[in-house]
Point group: C2
Chain length 328, copies 2
């Protein structure tokens, strides 16, 4: 079997997850990892894969079928997304919701000019959660959709706590409120405020002699980040933080309820994820969509796509015939 040759751009948590996911998909192989660091200082797990500097990418134009872009959405992807799409098929997990239309347009232009396929905003939210919102609202036209995240670490909120004076280290979990989830599951379409939906759990390591009461107060009143939520603050030691809070679990729920017919029949559609490792799961989604990009490119298509425009069969190693026979 001719394998799909993958390149990874950026070797952080997601990049390492993509490498591991490729090893679990027998129709794929990792050809190279591209980094902005000194390639000699980066060691990858895949023996047959090369490590190259970001600037050397073009030298592998004929050896890589799809590039998986594992950079951040704030500053990295807006630049490298269109840049790489001009020369390679790409997959990314761009997740700055408000800037998706602009990003899509930029990547689309570059991908079309280069004759490549780029699938943007792939992962679980945006990604699988988006798909479930779309399917559910297309079926239950009159209804309400709710998305709950967690329990999982919010990197942005953890960073915000770490910037407070007297804080040595911190981690913040977004936790869906059980009561709110249960109300939504009844199909009653409740009106829920921000505060009703999620709780924010903070685990904080204070510097020696720091004023813990002041830190707690500053966290709980922080505008945008915490002031609109029920927030709990627990002080722990650096050892406890390492021992109990170094994993990256996440998950959440997309629930839509709505009405059909003329006699008020009600229905609840729920999709949920419970993930041990947020980056490894995200990487597994990216790799499935890399297969779709490869196939669309082989079929002569070009331009940007979102998960909405990708027929599900393109994600599977199985043929359409197998899929219809085995799992339809």
């Amino acid at each position: 079997m001719e394998k799909i040759r993958i390149g990874i751009v950026g070797y952080g948590n997601i990049g390492r997850g993509v490498e591991q996911a490729i090893a679990r998909n027998e129709d794929m192989e990792l050809k190279a990892v591209f980094t902005r660091r000194d390639p000699a200082a980066v060691t990858v797990k895949t023996e047959s894969a090369q490590v190259k500097h970001f600037d050397e990418m073009l030298s592998m134009k004929n050896e890589i079928d799809v590039m998986v872009l594992c950079g951040g959405s704030a500053t990295d992807l807006p630049v490298i997304g269109p840049e790489v799409a001009a020369n390679f098929n790409t997959i990314d997990s761009f997740d700055t919701h408000a800037k998706i239309p602009e990003y899509f347009a930029n990547v689309d232009k570059a991908a079309k000019e280069g004759g490549n396929v780029s699938i943007i905003s792939v992962g679980w939210d945006p990604g699988m959660f988006s798909l479930n919102r779309l399917y559910a609202e297309s079926i239950l036209v009159q209804g309400s959709t709710y998305t709950f995240w967690g329990k999982g670490v919010s990197q942005g909120h953890s960073d915000a706590i770490r910037r407070i004076k007297g804080v040595k280290n911190a981690i913040q979990y977004t936790v869906p409120m059980d009561e709110a989830v249960e109300r939504v599951r009844t199909g009653s379409e409740p009106q829920l405020t921000t505060k009703d939906k999620h709780l924010r759990e903070c685990y904080v390591v204070a510097e020696e002699g720091a004023d813990k009461a002041a830190i707690e107060q500053e966290i709980k009143t922080m505008p945008n980040y915490f002031d609109e939520y029920v927030t709990t603050v627990t002080f722990i030691t650096e050892e406890e933080l390492k021992a109990e809070h170094s994993k990256m679990p996440h998950g959440g729920f997309v629930i839509r309820s709505g009405e059909t017919g003329t006699e008020g029949s009600r229905h609840v559609i729920e999709y949920s994820l419970k993930l041990d490792s947020n980056p490894e799961f995200t990487a597994s989604v990216l790799v499935a969509y890399a297969r779709a990009a490869y196939r669309l490119s082989k079929a002569g298509e070009s331009g940007a796509r979102s998960v909405f425009e990708i027929a599900p069969a393109l994600l599977s190693m199985k043929t359409p015939e197998q899929l219809r026979k085995e799992i339809l």
Copy 2:
């Protein structure tokens, strides 16, 4: 806005559900209902819609964009599926799993010759459950998928009970076993037997003077239908049956759990439905896919498709731009 003109073939529970779903989708209109009964004896709710005999279908070839076939899978769809696909775009909910490849081939041939698009096996299982099996196994390549059905009426099992001597009426619910669902949700990938996964609840109206113990024994030992399950039998009156068991609720769960990475990270993906009305929900899915068939046909495509080959964006009233902006 030019509306998508729908025809309904067969006016039973699903056909009536499709009519109601069309009324909830502002880009669609019901043009005609086709029946094998005397059209004069069939009254539909949509004033502007015609009722015509099945044999008059061709006279409306230029007035209908998509035909939604609401016949049964055992004997009706295998005949009318290819027959209608030769002249119209079609949607159906063919659900005899073992015969899907053959049915697909027959519909595909007719649809290609007629230049039409036919989407087969649309609904929730096959349909939304199939899609979730596909997405989940494409992401978690190493893992196990479990499908649970219910709580909901199994028409086949209810019929089997009704054929027993001394039984006046009966209804059978398939009920997922909570304990099994919970074990699957832990991500432990348990081995489950048929008996572990579902319970069969039977509500039976006995004829006067019938031997209830014999009826219960006959139900519980019926091969294929009940002998491999934990089965409960409750005798009730005809009035109780009408009062408490005349609705058509259903639902179920598709759960896949699997592993990623090199350190055994485990993940659980769950999709669930809780439906007040099985036929109305199925009809709502059919109508969303009718929109997709219409669009693919307008784009010049032809032949049979399953839900696996349909890009999700095709189901939505919203444009791809709106979808990316609003729900991605």
